[in-house]
Amino acid sequence: MDIIGSFDVKFLQIINEAGVCDAALLPSMEAPDLKKIFETMILVRTFNQRALSLQREGRIGTYASVLGQEASQIGSALALEKDDWIFPSFRESAVLISRGYPMWMLYRYWMGDERGMKAPDDMNIFPMSVPVGTQLPHAVGAAFAMKYRNDRRVAAVYFGDGGSSRGDFHEALNLAGVFKSPVIFLLQNNQWAISVPRARQTAAATLAQRAFGYGIPGIQVDGNDILAVYRATKEAADRARGGEGPTLIECYTYRLDDHTTADDASRYRRKEEVEEWREKEPLLRFRLFLEKKGLRTKEYEEEVAKKALEAVDKEIEKAEKFPPPDPADIIRYTNFELTARQKTELKEFGWEK
């Protein structure tokens, strides 16, 4: 028998857990760029920690923590151009913050306010998808529109290992391959889909290799290594912009917190497993890396943390002071123009001004 095809699954790591880097693979970045990454990581962690506290205090509803996944999210988000399109799932606070999304709006969203997902006009950010995996076809559709208009933008879509078992994932990758759509599939493999472990999602050894079945490139990156994620995303974006089509990037990471604040992960996963991953978390190694480069001092980090806390507190204050929506909003937005029934209901409910 002849071998008519074979595929290599590549794994990319640039900085290891000890903070030692492979200089040949380092993306070209100056000190301010590296510091910006570090400062974004601290800001995200502060945002996240405060969100969890606010939830415990009953000041926001449910929240999905990003702890442990900062490298996968920030590294990829910073590798994209300003006018590229982002299609996030509900666990992508770090992606949005990296893109400059107002944090008060994110808090507002998690407080239960639709207006928190009305992205500012200069940001091409789709609303977070709470349904799992349904955003993949949307990204392919938007990418189709960009390619059709020849505007050299790319669509980046975020989803998890759980989402990769859904039909949407398979159909979207297949169609993106057929249409050669400029889309990057950023699979956040955090090992757990609520209580379902990665081993129960698929018998495949890696999630990255699924790309080969659809005739598109796939790579696994160390999702806790922010520069590896950055480099892989940048390369995928360059390929997409050059007309070479989609890429699947499996960011191999770990969800250190519960699925959401409504979950208790200790019921289904071992403490030891979590502790092992805590040693590999992304901030530890990036801090070591910066220290080796002489870019991180204790004073610098304290200053960054202080500024982050001040910024986050201001945003929380803004979110909590924001007036509640008008009841007429219930009727106002569903249709492009109000239907006769909607007009009647505005009157009946006494919401018409």
């Binding site: 399109w85 639709e114 207006r115 997902m117 009305k118 992205a119 789709f126 609303p127 349904p131 349904t134 993949l136 076809p137 949307h138 990204a139 392919v140 559709g141 938007a142 990418a143 189709f144 529109a145 960009m146 059709y148 208009r149 669509a155 039909g167 949407d168 159909e171 979207a172 297949n174 169609l175 057929v178 909003d329 106002r332 937005y333 569903t334 249709n335 492009f336 123009e337 239907t339 006769a340 029934r341």
Partner: protein, 347 residues
């Protein structure tokens, strides 16, 4: 107006055409093809996507030749993945395109319900009016040729239940052309349901581009004794029934509903206030269908005007049979409408 008339068959239309040589006749399928063609020519954001839109049949002739004229980038065949193709159309619509997505049979649409109901219909609401989904999904209802249980359903009621969607079911070539354009430029996701038995129907269709407003029904035949609201193919059966009843001295007003959601309540109420009797003839099942909604609205707003209980003409409460003998018995027609109208008159 000549184009508001309903012609029972081609011969009848051609007889009328002979008297008015200035008017142009097109079949329902040609009207749909012309509408798509004109929009593709005038608006680069319009594209057509769906399984088989570029094959030689061209979706029963309604997309025939468009890929040759406008290219495969704008008239695209798609792999067999109804849900993702719908999601792609949703994504493209939000990114500024105006997709015309074709699901050749409405029976394929249960596979796309997640994208239609949970996404397309919700987004404008969920994101405070920031996003619009100007998407049209053309879908076709079959009847006959042994299409059977999984290839001939009438699922308009499923979509009509959902806020945020619009559902149109044109019955004439003029409306098919005008409503397709209105749907593409409506700004909301529109489910556009055609009936295969209408494709050969002819009527007056102006060559220039025009729209027919969504949400407006039309009186096809004025009358004073009973109101018959027909939907899609059942408009023709209603017209036949009205003619037959006229022979017995019963004068029916026939309304073509044209849009299922939002519904033209005013037109129906006005008619029932005049006639006091109501029959609704729909192509689908009875329970929770457009007929239920129409009668409820009349009860809510004009109960005192009803002189007799309202009646519905629908399919039996079972799936479509494949056997020609059973199929013949399955589908209601003019005779059933005649009998329903007579019941409202105590006959």
């Amino acid at each position: 107006m000549p184009w508001t008339k309903v012609y029972g068959n081609k011969a009848e239309f051609e007889k009328h055409l002979a008297g008015e040589p200035g008017l142009r006749g097109l079949t329902y399928r040609e009207a749909l093809l012309e509408a798509a063609s004109q929009m593709l020519a005038s608006d680069p954001s319009v594209f057509v996507i769906g399984e088989g839109v570029d094959d030689s049949g061209g979706v029963f002739g309604t997309t025939k030749g468009l890929h040759q004229r406008f290219g495969k980038d704008r008239v695209m065949d798609s792999p067999l993945a109804e849900n993702a193709v719908t999601g792609i159309a949703v994504g493209a619509a939000v990114a500024g395109m105006r997709p015309i997505l074709v699901h050749m049979r409405v029976d394929f649409m249960p596979l796309t319900m997640d994208q239609i109901i949970n996404h397309a219909a919700k987004w404008r609401y969920m994101f405070g009016g920031k996003l619009n989904v100007p998407l049209v999904i053309r879908s076709i209802v079959g009847r006959g040729w042994g299409s059977a249980a999984q290839h001939s359903q009438n699922l308009q009621a499923l979509f009509a239940h959902i806020p945020g969607l619009k559902v149109v079911m044109p019955s004439t070539p003029f409306d098919a052309k005008g409503l397709l354009k209105a749907s593409v430029y409506d700004g909301n996701p529109v489910i556009f349901i055609e009936h295969r038995w209408l494709y050969e129907h002819m009527g007056h269709v102006p060559e220039e581009s025009y729209t027919v407003p969504i949400g407006k029904g039309i009186v096809r035949r004025p009358g004073k004794d009973a109101t018959v609201v027909g939907i899609s193919h059942m408009v023709y059966e209603s017209m036949k029934a009205a003619e037959e009843l006229m022979g017995e001295g019963i004068d029916c007003e026939v309304i073509d509903l044209r849009t299922i959601r939002p519904m033209d309540t005013g037109l129906i109420i006005e008619s029932v206030k005049k006639t006091g009797r109501l029959v609704v003839a729909d192509t689908g099942w009875k329970d929770c269908g457009p007929g239920s909604e129409i009668i409820t609205r009349v009860v809510e707003e004009a109960f005192g005007f009803l002189k007799a209980p309202a009646r519905r003409v629908n399919l039996p409460d079972v799936p479509t049979p494949a056997s020609p003998a059973l199929e013949k018995a399955y589908y209601p027609g003019a005779a059933d409408i005649v009998s329903a109208v007579k019941k409202t008159l105590g006959k």
